[in-house]
Amino acid sequence: MSTEVKGRFGFGSFILFVLTVLGIVLALYRFATGIGSVANLNQGYPWGFWIGFDILAGIALAGGGFVIAAVVHIFGSEKYHALVRPAILTAFLGYLMFITGLLVDIGRPWMIWSMMINWQHESPMFEVGWCVMLYTTVLLFEFLPVVFEKYKMAGALKIWMNIMPLVAIVMLVFFAWLLSRSTQWTVVIAAVLVIFELAIRGGVLKRDPRVPTLLIMAGIIFSTLHQSSLGSLFLMVPHKLSMIWFSPILPVLFFISAVMAGMAMLIVESTLSSKFFRRGLELNILQGIGKGLSWVILIYLAVRVVDLAYRRVGSELLATSPQAVAFWIEIVIGLLIPLALLLTPQGVASGRGLFWAAIFVVIGLVVNRINVAVTGISGGSYPTYYPHWMEVAISVGIVSLGILAFLLICRNFPIFEKEHSHAASA
């Protein structure tokens, strides 16, 4: 059973509020005068901090939602159930934050609907756009039971349980057709989904009484697709992206690192919300996540090393260039240090070790995405891009707004499970 939690809005929340207001003011200024008045972007560097941080890093960090949904509802690890609702809420708010960031970054945001009627199935940007639109909708649907529970709408929950599998099938099949434009693929994918649902309705497969499995599956499939497609965006620029990052398997690397970052964010946000809401920290749950995280870091590191070796990237990594330095920050802070922390018994036994390992993974992920989008890009003869403080301030404002919204919703809706007696105190 979940419950609302108490947490004081104090000085920290006040700071977040101020940062939000500053971000909003600067965003209004940008809409009134053009991107150039707040950003250092130029004709050689059309993408900057907003794409790297708000969009690439933001979406990867919101990956905790689909990872935990898969672990609990598909792979059946019930132990982590308490993390599902906070993670779904974080992911939902994360995607709304990212969409806000996107509206600031694109030059003509009032035309964003253009993507809904002008179909370009060969553009990775088109795929990301649609996937994000559909996944945000899925996250909203996944969050609805919280609202039903709060307002005791048992009837609505029943309708939701019945309709959502069909909605999920329609979304997935439409998307399959939109991106493949192939009747065969569409029919095969539709058949698999319909058979699965019939098996559940016919009692061949056991029904999950809490949530329609197909809705969870839709969330995981859309996430897998766009987390990797964010990497595909940069397959378009072999002529501009440094050898250190340009790889034909960028989509795979982006997907694995999104799983990694999503898990790290689960640890970070559980720890922080236990502090804020003065709840016990369920250390054994987080230790389980930490163990999984160390495996994902190992896999990611291995794929990264093999990829670099296969493409014979060597001297570039040892040069004294900003790119090489940025690469080593990503590897050492983002992968090696957290791995070391997670593999030492003392590191895992304490909540602090876990927390810091997760923080380092998050920092490493942000650095990686900014490296791909900004540091690794060569703009030729144009002045090297460094973010303007107003660009950073707008992103900070958006994140602050997201955190405030999270705190507010947790206080008013049943997001966290009732505390168990065995919970360790933090």
């Binding site: 059309p46 898969a70 598909i74 059946g76 003509r108 253009s114 060969e122 553009s123 940007m125």
Partner: protein, 260 residues
Amino acid sequence: MKALLIDTIRCTGCRSCQVACKEWNELPAEETSFFGGPGYQNPKDLSKNTWNLITFNEVKLNGRLKWIFGKKQCMHCLEPGCVSACPVGALEKTADGPVIYHKNICIGCRYCMLACPFQIPRFDFDSPNPYITKCRLCHDRQEMGEIPACAKACPTGAITFGEREDMVREAQRRIAENPDKYHHKVYGLEEAGGTCVLHISSVPFEEIGYITDIPNEPVCANVKPAMKAIPAVMLGAALILGASYKFRNRTRDEEPAAHG
């Protein structure tokens, strides 16, 4: 498919083509300053109001400093990166060759700029209602049976317009007839899969400021397989998730409570 052939040896740097481009496309003049760019080049760079630019390059040739003029404009690739990149189809490769821009459906994401290996599309960072701008190979003039304004205006024959095959043959003929005068390369023949603007010059192209480290396969070569994999990934994911659900569902029945 039509193409332009630019022979930099025949160019005298008069910039009639620059003026003709502005006139036809109704682009206002820019405020410029003497020596504001490299040498006497004016203006400094392509912009929302300058879609065609004659670049002034000072090159040392046989011990003497010489001006060699280049022409900077959209290359109208055979398989344009900008077209593959655009999420809404605001950029379109027409059958006749020009890559054109439909400004009204553009969302301003600037992915076309990132995708362009020649760094041609310009974005108006100073406007609250910005567009992408670039040369459209006088698509509208071609529809009326006319040749592009720059080719029409050129007084020295440095810009020739015609079928791409003919232009390629003409470029190769000029190089073959004067092998000492020309650098042995047709820029645009293979770059990024080939383009509808071809250049020949007396010196290697990197010496006159052209971007030369462009792969010969089309920009979208790496993207296509990734996009093709999408339905397969969907099917694979659905099968794996479905199977996992069935398998783990059984263990869940056996050990209901706190099973990790």
